[in-house]
């Protein structure tokens, strides 16, 4: 991608783009620690359904949130599913997504406020890229519920 012209008031940001069903979402790359394959998840009783449970990340146990369930999509696991490990206020948390697509740089000027309804409070903006819309996730809101 060509270097975007940076104007005074607008900065660019790098995001990790992933897919949930047909929709594309982006998370700030500085919040992403790593991307791992789906592995055995141990369920935790008495937690909300979107908290899938705990996984072993090199000797650490980290909780995993299923974004499909979080965003009220049908529960389904695909072979391309991955866990994106992100840094949150409560330590590392894994996000189960259908597929990790790419890492790209977004021109800040192209980011628009979210149309109402899409992803609720969890989307902080929408970016357009090659005719596709990317919903930028507000991680803290997403992990709040």
């Amino acid at each position: 991608m060509a270097t975007a012209a940076v104007s005074d008031s607008v900065s660019s940001e790098q995001v990790v783009v992933f897919r949930l069903e047909a929709e594309r979402y982006g998370v700030d790359i500085f919040r992403v620690n790593e991307i791992i394959r789906l592995r055995e998840i141990t369920p935790i009783p008495h937690t909300p359904p979107h908290v899938r449970g705990l996984v072993n990340l090199r000797g650490k146990t980290i909780p995993v949130v299923d974004l499909r369930i979080r965003f009220s999509l049908a529960e389904e696991t695909t072979d391309k599913a991955r866990i994106i490990v992100v840094e949150s206020a409560n330590g590392q948390i894994g996000l189960v997504v259908d597929e990790v697509c790419e890492v790209c740089t977004l021109d800040g000027a192209g980011v628009e406020p979210p149309p109402s309804g899409v992803g609720g409070d969890c989307v902080r903006g929408v970016a357009r890229r090659e005719d596709r819309l990317i919903a930028l996730l507000d991680l803290d809101q997403t992990l709040e519920g």
């Binding site: 008495h46 937690t47 705990l54």
Partner: protein
């Protein structure tokens, strides 16, 4: 004050050693009050003196002046001019509190600022009330009588040396040099006396020359070399000191009779851990030990994983030649890991007396306040346990002790046929992989019927429950939150908080608390705690397709139960085992999983767990096995989960949850 030394780097050491001196002071002062002996007085005096010297050297003048006043009083005691009466002990102990606060402040970088609330005046008052200062008479050697007496007694046992030090004219802090010189001669020995005396040295009441008399296991030349390193010194002379008139015909410089052993005997136990020359111990930062413990935890997990992988490979490639080598290596790895784990565990172990030592003082103050006579006996203070457990049991023990003294023990006039003095025994011992702590008092005991009446009137239980309640259950009411039998709320206890917190704290540690009582004869609290919190043996069970870990320490037995053995009593499922009715909890239900998933419903396994003498059967689908597991806390994101106390990683690399057995039992029984 200008100084050529950078004192800041010694600050930690100063605080650490200061705390040790305070510990010695407190322990010995309490003993001194009961049973004064010359050695004990000396020990206390020396501890105060060392502390003062160190404080001066570090330029903490408030700390130094408080210790100085203490020292004056102690000196009078040492000189036989007064005895340690209760008011004097009170004042001296109050000084220790002040000093402790100062040390805390110093460590926190806030210096030793202090507002005297009359304490110093009180100490000085004791001195003025005492006999006038005896004038030191000169002995046969021209030395003051006191010194020559001390030296002739001392030289009967070990060689005595004298070191005469002359400071340079431009020496800035004479007392610091003197103090360092005292430290230098005392390094492998002990300072016996000095001219001028210690107080004068510290007040810089000397010209440039002073003489130290001391025992030492080192050669005079070695000591001289040490002194030479101090700087700002003009000349040093170290030579054997010849006692002018041996008291008991022993030779002037006796043959060295295994000086090492003599030192060992004379060193009080309290000083162990202090970095004496020749001592074979090291101080290690606690954080570093914790870090190592984490690493060993990871190793334990990987060890289990490797043997799991080995077993899987063996099943797949039964005849491969490398498999045997793998099995061998993995076996060796397992042994080494175990040894490493044991070794590190032992390193982290500390004697429980580090906690127990706080209690004599507390008990004494409490007894005085309540007008009771209490004798506290401590048994098994040397029993060791992991410092993670050690850190958390102090508060529960304080609560129990306070309760025993406040509620348990009667006032001296109301103890019937028993001795006026109440007795509280605090004991610790190892039992299997646990430590058992007992707090026994010979007080009035707990009246179970009275507890019931009280609980009834406080609306904690209903009439019906009260009638069915066994004596044991009634006793357990004391652990109920909001329950208090004290007719009056006292400052000490009786606020209705305490015992419930005690129980929940102990359960959090994976421990048990039990109470036994005999009316009129006393009460015994028994605490059973794991030796460590980091690694436990667990029983692996499967519930609705998920593996859970039950701490083996709370498992009593495992049984197979058929459906027809399960009966219902008052809407609760129970099983009768050897004539005893045991209530059941189905873990599938506890963990909110579907009840009829996968397993045949007519047979199940039951793990009987116990909390004190309460039993509960946990119904699981299958028993999987036993394994050592490293406890990891649940992520903050998950918060507190009912029925779960933590997580761990199993040999297959998967995460398993650790069941909070104590929580489930308390909830169910």
């Amino acid at each position: 004050m200008a100084t050529d030394l950078d004192m800041s780097q010694y600050l930690d050491l100063f605080v650490q050693e200061g705390e040790e001196q305070l510990e010695t002071l407190e322990r010995e002062l309490l003993l001194l009050e009961k049973a004064p002996t010359a050695e004990r007085i000396d020990l206390v005096f020396r501890a105060a003196h060392t502390l003062k010297g160190a404080a001066r050297a570090m330029d903490f003048s408030n700390l130094a002046s408080v210790t100085h006043e203490m020292e004056n009083v102690l000196d009078a005691v040492r000189g036989g001019k007064m005895i340690v009466s209760t008011p004097i002990a009170d004042a001296l102990l109050a000084c220790l509190d002040v000093l402790r606060t100062m040390l805390d402040a110093i460590q926190g970088g806030r210096g030793d600022a202090w507002q005297d609330d009359g304490l110093i005046g009180k100490l000085q008052g004791f001195l003025n009330g005492g006999a006038p200062e005896a004038v030191a008479t000169a002995g046969p050697s021209g030395l003051p009588q006191e010194i020559s007496d001390a030296l002739s007694v001392a030289s009967a046992e070990r060689p005595v040396f004298r070191a005469t030090v002359v400071l340079r004219e431009d020496c800035v802090m004479k007392f610091v040099r003197a103090f360092m010189a005292i430290q230098a001669v005392g390094e492998n020995g002990e300072l016996l006396a000095s001219i001028p005396d210690a107080a004068a040295l510290e007040d810089e009441a000397f010209e440039r020359e002073f003489t130290l008399f001391f025992h030492s296991d080192d050669e005079p030349e070695t000591v001289a070399k040490r002194l030479d390193k101090l700087g700002e010194i003009e000349s040093i002379q170290v030579a054997p000191h010849t006692a002018p008139k041996p008291l008991n015909e022993s030779p002037n410089v006796p043959a060295p009779v295994s000086p090492k052993a003599a030192t060992a005997e004379e060193e009080p136990a309290a000083e162990k851990g202090a970095p004496k020359g020749g001592s074979a111990t090291v101080r290690v930062d606690v954080a570093r030990l914790d870090e190592l413990m984490n690493l060993v935890g990871e190793l334990v997990i990987d060890r289990a994983r490797i043997s799991g992988i080995g077993a899987a490979l063996a099943a797949k490639y039964a005849l491969d030649e490398h498999l045997e080598a793998l099995a061998e290596t993995s076996g060796h790895l397992a042994r080494i890991t175990s040894d490493l784990q044991d070794g590190l565990m032992k390193t982290r172990m500390m004697p429980i007396e580090t906690v127990f030592n706080r209690f004599p003082r507390m008990v004494r103050d409490l007894a005085n306040k309540l007008g009771k006579e209490v004798e506290l006996e401590i048994v098994g203070g040397e029993t060791e346990l992991d410092r993670s457990v050690l850190e958390t049991i102090g508060d529960p023990l304080i609560h129990i002790l306070r309760n025993s003294i406040d509620h348990g023990l009667e006032p001296p006039y109301a103890r019937g046929g028993k001795s006026r003095q109440g007795r509280v025994v605090l004991s610790a011992r190892h039992q299997e992989n646990h430590i058992v702590i007992e707090i026994t008092d010979d007080g009035r005991g707990i009246d179970a019927e009275r507890l019931k009446t009280k609980a009834l009137s406080q609306g904690l239980i209903t009439q019906e429950v009260a009638e069915r309640m066994s004596e044991r259950d009634a006793l357990n009411l004391i652990f109920h939150s909001g329950f208090s039998t004290a007719a009056q709320v006292s400052e000490v206890s009786g606020r209705g908080v305490g015992m419930d917190i005690v129980r929940s704290n102990i359960q959090k540690l994976g421990g048990l608390i039990d109470v036994e009582t005999v009316l009129g004869q006393g009460t015994k609290f028994t605490l059973r705690l794991p030796l460590t919190l980091a690694i436990i043996r667990g029983l692996l069970v499967r519930v609705a397709g998920v593996v859970y870990v039950l701490p083996l320490g709370s498992v009593v037995e495992t049984l197979r139960v058929e459906n027809e053995q399960i009966q219902s009593v008052r809407g609760r499922e129970v099983v009768v085992i050897r004539g005893e009715t045991v209530p059941l909890v189905r873990l599938r239900r506890t963990f909110g999983r579907s009840l009829d998933e996968g397993v045949p419903a007519d047979v199940a396994y039951m793990v009987v767990v116990g909390l004190a003498d309460r039993r509960l059967g946990l119904v699981v689908d299958r028993l999987v096995g036993e394994q050592e597991v490293v406890i990891k806390s649940l992520n903050r994101f998950c918060g507190d989960v009912r029925g779960i106390s933590g997580a761990t990683i199993l040999g297959d690399g998967n995460v398993a949850l650790i069941v909070d057995v104590n929580g489930i039992v308390s909830e169910a029984v």
